[in-house]
């Protein structure tokens, strides 16, 4: 994976010292909160319901074991012994003291990490496929391009004060595991008829208040024009994005209002100008970056045989592993969704254990997924049982990837100052309900996603079942959505009707799954059945 060069390290170290000075001035009173606030946010430090919250960037979700270990240590040393992995493939700490924040950033810098681009109206941390560099179905490893975009976007002077925040995802397979079309820019690596690899650009997707699926703006941008085209996309947005209205400021509104064709035309115009200026980084820089993402030393001739005599282990393998490009290996997902647990939370000890397992079983590399789990991308099939046994012992062996209890839930009203309702208790109750009624296993793939407000950090629009917390006359209320999907067959969920209270929403989810079970045809997922039979049977069961 990528290693900082002296420029990266110097930049991050300087940033730590700059923030140390800003924090000192805030604490001494020479810097008022109104001036300090944007500075702390630029370093990932929010003020949330109970304390300061620090969001740490995990570029394209990739970590080595030293980094993961450091994240565990920070949880112990500066927080209350745990961290929360987020839907942006990052990690957040909920109980940070302002006076400690510069020291935490210094600790992060020692392992080549920071909290830059995790807040504010800039290009945020780039996200990617959590199986990148490992998946059997990928064209190439998208991460060198994600890294190139990261370097281009970090401190890019022109894009530090965009109309709104800006999120980019890069993938390189037909299967979308990164909700690519629900990003401001979604980039998919593709091969054209001539056999060349380039990028398809989808621009103007997003969730939040006005969810939209990003339309295809250009089907092929040559790899050596990736940055130039991205810059053209950003320039048009930076110039015409709505700064007058926060709720209309995301690029999705601009693309929607202009129309995808007109937006694309303006981008092409800008692109032509920029091509003349030669802003694309030299190929040598891309090659330098690529070298860091070379395959690890995979063994050949490994066994593909698996002893399935332990049914619990066999179930975990069936559900939580993914096909690898090299025979004899798989990618293994560590679920952070035990029954009744808090989605995405891991204790300091669990984080350090995952760091150790990363070193021992996965060539020193792990990934944070947007579904708030951790992936060990390169595990020998022959060592899976050993790995699983260690995970089981630490409460990390839940076999539920993409099942109804693998719930995405944002922090909601338990932690987040923007929330209308709590998300986590709803996730816990649903997970407990389906563990108790024994239906979880019957349901197959069913992605359930919960947000505590319309900002949609819990991706509720993209859940096969989505739940949105709202404030109804000072009481928590939950809307139910059906039919969303963040994968390559992207769709947005539709609201079923009037909302429910906390217990009512759990019943409603169970009723919706009952409709599926009694209507499904062979091989159909919940989503497929919903798409075939439509909303009416579900409404009938819920409100009839």
């Amino acid at each position: 994976m990528y290693k900082y060069d002296q420029y990266d390290q110097a930049m991050v170290d300087a940033r730590v010292e700059e923030f140390r000075d800003q924090t000192r001035r805030r604490l001494e009173g020479t810097l008022a909160e109104e001036h300090f606030r944007p500075l702390r946010l630029q370093n990932g430090l929010y003020l949330q319901l109970h304390a300061y919250m620090l969001r740490v960037a995990v570029p394209y979700g990739t970590l080595n074991s030293a980094q993961m270990h450091a994240l565990g240590d920070i949880a112990d040393k500066y927080d209350r012994g745990y961290g929360h992995f987020t839907t942006r493939q990052n990690i957040q700490y909920n109980w940070i003291k302002l006076e400690d924040a510069p020291d935490i950033l210094a600790d992060l810098a020692k392992v080549e990490m920071h909290a830059i681009q995790t807040s504010g109206n800039c290009i945020r941390n780039i996200s990617s496929d959590h199986y990148a560099g490992a998946a059997a179905d990928e064209l190439i490893d998208p991460r060198p391009y994600a890294e190139l975009l990261r370097q281009w976007s970090s401190f890019h002077p022109e894009f530090l004060a965009l109309p709104r925040k800006f999120k980019i995802a890069v993938i390189a397979s037909e299967t979308d595991r990164a909700a690519m079309r629900l990003h401001d820019i979604g980039i998919r690596m593709v091969k054209n008829d001539a056999g060349e690899i380039g990028c398809a650009f989808y621009v103007g997707g997003g969730m939040g208040r006005t969810p939209m699926i990003g339309p295809l703006i250009r089907d092929f941008v040559p790899l050596d024009q990736l940055i130039t085209y991205s810059e053209a996309c950003l320039r048009v947005y930076n110039r015409y994005g709505r700064r007058d209205n926060k709720y209309k400021a995301r690029i999705k509104i601009l693309v929607h209002e202009l129309g995808a064709d007109e937006y694309a035309r303006q981008v092409e115009e800008e692109f032509a100008l920029l091509l003349d200026q030669g802003i694309e980084p030299p190929l040598a820089e891309l090659e330098r970056i690529k070298a860091y993402f070379a395959d690890p030393d995979f063994k050949s001739g490994l066994t593909e045989e698996l002893d399935r005599s332990d049914p619990d282990f066999a179930l975990w393998v069936d559900r939580n592993t993914h096909a690898h490009k090299v025979p004899g290996y798989v990618s293994a997902t560590i679920s952070l969704k035990p029954t009744g647990g808090i989605p995405g939370d891991a204790s300091a000890d669990q984080i350090r254990l995952m760091a150790a397992l990363t070193r021992e079983y996965s060539f020193d590399e792990c990934r944070v997924t947007h579904a708030q789990n951790i992936v060990l991308p390169h595990v020998e099939i022959g060592r899976l049982h050993e790995l699983w046994s260690k995970l089981e012992e630490a409460g990390l062996g839940t076999p539920n990837l993409d099942q109804i209890d693998d719930i995405i839930a944002c922090p909601g009203l338990d932690y987040c100052s923007l929330a209308n309702a709590r998300s986590i208790p709803v996730a816990q109750k649903i997970s407990e309900r389906f563990a108790a009624n024994g239906k979880a296993g019957e349901l197959g793939q069913l992605k359930l996603k919960i947000s505590g407000c319309i900002n949609a950090c819990g991706h509720h629009h993209a859940g096969h079942i989505g739940i949105l917390g709202v404030d109804r006359k000072g009481k928590e209320n939950y809307q139910l959505l059906l039919g969303g999907c963040e994968a390559e067959d992207t769709s947005l969920g539709k609201i079923t009707g009037p909302g429910f209270d906390e217990d009512g929403i759990v019943d409603a989810v169970e009723k919706a799954t009952d409709v599926y079970l009694s209507n499904r045809e062979d091989g159909e997922r919940f989503l497929d059945t919903y798409r075939r039979i439509g909303m009416d049977p579900f409404k009938e069961a819920l409100y009839g």
């Binding site: 304390a51 109980w95 709590r422 000072g474």
Partner: protein
């Protein structure tokens, strides 16, 4: 009644105006009547509180201060999903007060 809340500048801890000082216990909060702006301006300038604001509250059946909105009750106690991290880890029934 109107009470004042905010966060401690250094620690970020949730605090409540007691009439003389700031406390982490909402039970200590006092009605500030129409003096909210004056107190907040003075206290924020002295860095005894960060981002203060006034909220509605009432006295519950036991005569204890209860913020009107659930968000401030969550702030007053702590995350409902981690009773061990709330101000009253030994009193699980305190969660009923929030909801």
């Amino acid at each position: 009644m109107k009470i004042l809340t905010g966060n401690d500048l250094k620690s970020g801890a949730v605090i409540w105006w007691t009439g003389r000082d700031w406390s982490i216990h909402v039970e200590d909060a006092v009605d500030v009547g129409d003096k909210a702006d004056e107190i907040m301006g003075r206290e924020e300038a002295a860095r005894r509180v960060n981002v203060p604001y006034a909220i509605d509250a009432e006295l519950d059946a036991d005569g204890k201060v209860r913020p009107a909105h659930i968000k401030d009750r969550v702030r007053a106690l702590g995350p409902t999903v981690r009773p061990d991290l709330t101000l009253k880890p030994a009193e699980p029934e305190a969660l009923n007060w929030v909801i």
